[in-house]
């Protein structure tokens, strides 16, 4: 009996220790840091203030925030529009084919994401593959100048995020009871009506999960603008990174990170309200 208690105490204790030390404590520290002032010699000055949060509304920073939000909303929508049909087609494939399709979706993850993003340069620069292809097809007559533009950053973001949108959508569509389609058809619904009144509403938890995995992370991928975009398309992630490593204004960096956390919390709450226990397990 003694042995049982020991084992339970050990494994449960380990769990609490880990979560406490590496998840709760850091979160509390960021909360705390976000309301402190930054100092010249010390990183923090023990003086409570909310100016860090207000600073984000300063025109320079607010512009970055809005542009970053715009970029992530657009890339998230692209991921959804490209990913939903993909997940839908995959989920209707024969049972033997499905794992293969998902396997090949995951395969790119096994090379450095950074190197793959860097390789996009060769594809989209003025003399790149895409330009050549489009000119050969006669669609354009001048080389495309995509590199170091917002479009390049968008392509990079969509490229990285697409699998994260597809996987939860697929997990959800996979469980879909396709007999519902026959029922809807019998009741006289047209194809579009079935899609928007039956399929989409039932797969809502998958859609929200996909958005959750794409929308906010897309704002933080600071290496995408570094590699593909110019100085004009900075993301919120670049702003946070610079506060820590260049401007040395940690409290401001912490406050932007807190704002991201709050947005994340809001999305999570929305997801929690719209999903069941079973959905949440599918997500992973």
């Amino acid at each position: 009996m003694m042995n049982n208690h020991l084992f339970k105490r050990f494994s449960v204790g380990l769990l609490f220790l880990w979560i406490g030390l590496f998840a709760l404590l850091p979160f509390v520290l960021v909360c705390l840091a976000s309301v402190l002032e930054s100092g010249d010699t010390n990183i923090f000055v023990w003086h409570f203030t909310f100016t860090n949060y207000l600073q984000l509304f300063h025109p320079i920073y607010f512009k970055i925030f809005v542009r970053s939000l715009y970029l992530s909303v657009v890339s998230c929508s692209f991921c959804f529009m490209l990913g939903y049909p993909f997940a839908y087609i995959c989920s209707r494939m024969p049972k033997a084919v499905k794992p293969v399709l998902i396997f090949f979706l995951m395969l790119p993850f096994w090379t450095s994401t950074l190197m793959r993003v860097y390789s996009i340069i060769v594809l989209i620069r003025g003399e790149g593959w895409l330009s050549h292809l489009l000119m050969w097809l006669g669609l354009i007559h001048q080389p495309l100048h995509l590199l170091f533009t917002q479009t390049a950053v968008l392509i990079g973001l969509v490229y990285i995020s697409l699998p994260f949108m597809i996987l939860p959508l697929y997990a959800n569509l996979e469980k879909f009871d396709w007999r519902l389609l026959d029922a809807a058809r019998d009741l006289g619904a047209g194809k579009l009506r079935i899609l928007f009144r039956v399929v989409v509403p039932i797969t809502k938890p998958g859609i929200i999960a996909g958005v959750m995995l794409v929308l906010l992370p897309a704002m933080t991928l600071f290496y995408v603008p570094d590699v593909l975009g110019g100085a004009k398309s900075l993301l919120l992630g670049n702003l946070i990174k610079d506060q820590f490593f260049e401007a040395h204004n940690w409290p401001f960096g912490a406050s932007i990170s807190m704002i991201l956390t709050i947005l994340m919390g809001a999305l999570l709450l929305f997801y929690w309200k719209n999903s069941s226990e079973e959905n949440r397990q599918e997500l992973i």
Binding site: K8, V12, F22, F109, W110, S112, P217, R280
Partner: protein, 255 residues
């Protein structure tokens, strides 16, 4: 017609996902430094790679961190999953919620909070901070993989074992570990690839004393990446692929 359209669509998405990898591998054989034009086939980058000591060093660091982090994360993740699965305790719901949040939270937010932690605790940034950060971001994934497999196990097995006089430790060693083997292998591999790939979290928690491959590549992006790095990444890709194929066959034999 409809069927061809579907296949065309799938094909289009896969082309989008694979083109950068094709470029990555192709340019590791390109006989020209920096230039993005094709200058003919060569293997010289693969040869040069093995003489570039700084590149080999950071690759070694990355492998070291990835192997250690995924091994520790797998052991801890297993213990944590078993604790969550088998025992009732105060604060369980909170823990489950936090694990879920750790999985979906953006890497950057995670990196920032770990940096805060290490600085406040006055830990020197370097090997140990990097290792503990990697263990921490891999752990929830292992936990979830193992936990979802535990749910498929027939609970009567545990009751039977207890009736036969096994205590929890014995049940853990003799029943849970063998049954969880496929999940443990899958969790380890996922952790390994996550750790090898991570840029964002590592960027915040490592110091000048300990450089790893993704950060080394990141520092090169401003001056231009040489085909050596392409060659290296191609080799790592092939290595990971072999590792996963081997693991697959191992799992299949076990089941």
């Amino acid at each position: 017609m409809n069927r061809t359209l579907k296949f065309l669509y799938l094909f289009f998405i896969y082309v989008f996902l694979y083109l950068p990898i094709v470029v990555l591998i192709t340019y590791s054989f390109n006989d020209s430094k920096f230039s993005a034009f094709w200058h003919g086939l060569t293997f010289k980058w693969y040869k040069q790679l093995f003489h570039d000591h700084s590149l080999l060093l950071v690759t070694g660091h990355s492998f070291l961190i990835a192997v250690l982090a995924s091994t520790v994360a797998t052991v801890l993740g297993l213990a944590a999953a078993v604790a969550l699965f088998r025992y009732r305790f105060y604060g369980k719901k909170l823990i489950q919620g936090l694990v879920f949040i750790l999985i979906v939270v953006p890497d950057l937010v995670f990196g920032v909070s770990l940096l805060m932690l290490f600085v406040m605790l006055k830990v020197q940034l370097g090997f140990w901070t990097l290792l503990s950060a990697h263990i921490t971001f891999c752990l929830p994934f292992v936990l979830v993989i193992v936990y979802s497999r535990l749910q498929t196990v027939d609970k009567n097995i545990f009751a039977a074992a207890r009736d036969l006089g096994a205590n929890d430790f014995l049940i853990f060693m003799r029943i849970i570990i063998p049954l969880m083997m496929p999940a443990l292998i899958a969790g380890w591999l996922l952790s390994f690839t996550l750790s090898m790939d991570d840029v964002v979290i590592s960027f915040f928690v490592t110091g000048p004393t300990f450089q790893i491959l993704p950060l080394y590549i990141y520092s090169l992006t401003h001056v231009g990446i040489t085909p050596e790095v392409n060659a290296l990444c191609t080799l790592i890709f092939v290595f990971t692929l072999l590792l996963i194929v081997a693991a697959q066959s191992l799992i299949r034999r076990k089941v």
